[in-house]
Symmetry: C2
Subunit: 155 residues, 2 copies
DNA sequence: ACATTGAGGACCATTCTAGTCCCCATTAAA
DNA sequence: TTTAATGGGGACTAGAATGGTCCTCAATGT
């Protein structure tokens, strides 16, 4: 896993499409066609993105959706969260305590750290990155073992 | 999302438990109790981990499960994959082409790169990291924008 | 007025998930 | 050699999540 639902996938594609023409208002029908996803489904996605505050809408003729911020100011994690709720790998890494297993598992702490790292990474990728034609570059991902223990002190 | 199924969660906890006493054989019943998860469910998890080659089993009295490798040699991504199959964020980032939307989406490439980065990160976290009591340190996660474009050249 | 376009929410079908159970094979120990 | 412990394999089920559809109402530009 680390699977992303299809809806999130659509969301990313739709957002990227809008990001390429940020000035225009994009109607659901237009986006549906551009992206090749049935209208009602795109609509649903758009509504979710709107509720999350990533899009603003205007009804009526010439209406449609626009970004509320510039593509650089929107992170991939925000898009994902708009659709799926808080990004976390496991139950215990999102809810406070009450994991049930917490006492016995002895992994919670480290699990949460892993989750956090991924989360931070996703924060750093922007919609602009996604939308651009030339492939984005991967961030430097140092193997966890090679990190000097002092670099991020907690423990 | 980036949600991990409960099964994967169990798997991680169980593996960590075994990793703390690598010499002994651990019976399903023992693990079930240690971890607080019903026996049949733990069993199922163990079977999956075995099929993936992360555990070896011995039947009969005094039997049970052991690691096939040392905790340092087992990565978190392997554990996850043992349960959920290939780790990938989206359909198109795992299957070759034929995403259907590929033509229109224009995001596939970048999406795959994001997925790859996470994947690599998960590769770098080991079972030993998970199992240790003192919290593991986070790897350095440079914001994607700050990475010099030359550092990983493709495009 | 009227055509366009989104809002809101009900609804359904299918898949996935978690979890259970049963019976057989293997192995150690009594 | 019998017995008890232990995993192997797989079928099965209930419930939830997912993806997707549809309908009616509200807003807004022409």
């Amino acid at each position: 896993m680390l699977r992303l639902s299809k809806m999130s996938d659509y969301a990313a594609v739709v957002m990227a499409h809008i990001a390429r023409y940020p000035e225009q208002a994009h109607a659901a029908a237009e986006l549906s066609e551009a992206v090749g996803v049935p209208r009602p489904t795109v609509s649903k996605t758009l509504k979710m993105l709107m509720h999350a505050g990533l899009l603003q809408s205007r009804r009526g003729a010439q209406g449609g959706y626009r970004l509320t911020r510039t593509p650089i100011e929107i992170s991939v994690s925000e898009i994902i969260e708009a659709i799926e709720g808080p990004v976390a790998m496991t139950e215990c890494s999102q809810a406070e305590g009450e994991c049930g297993l917490a006492a016995t598992c002895g992994v919670a702490d480290n699990w949460q750290r892993v989750s956090m790292a991924i989360r931070q990474f996703l924060d750093s990728v922007t919609l602009a990155d996604l939308a651009q034609k030339t492939p984005i570059k991967m961030p430097v991902m140092l193997p966890i073992q090679s990190v000097s223990l002092a670099s991020i002190s907690d423990a």
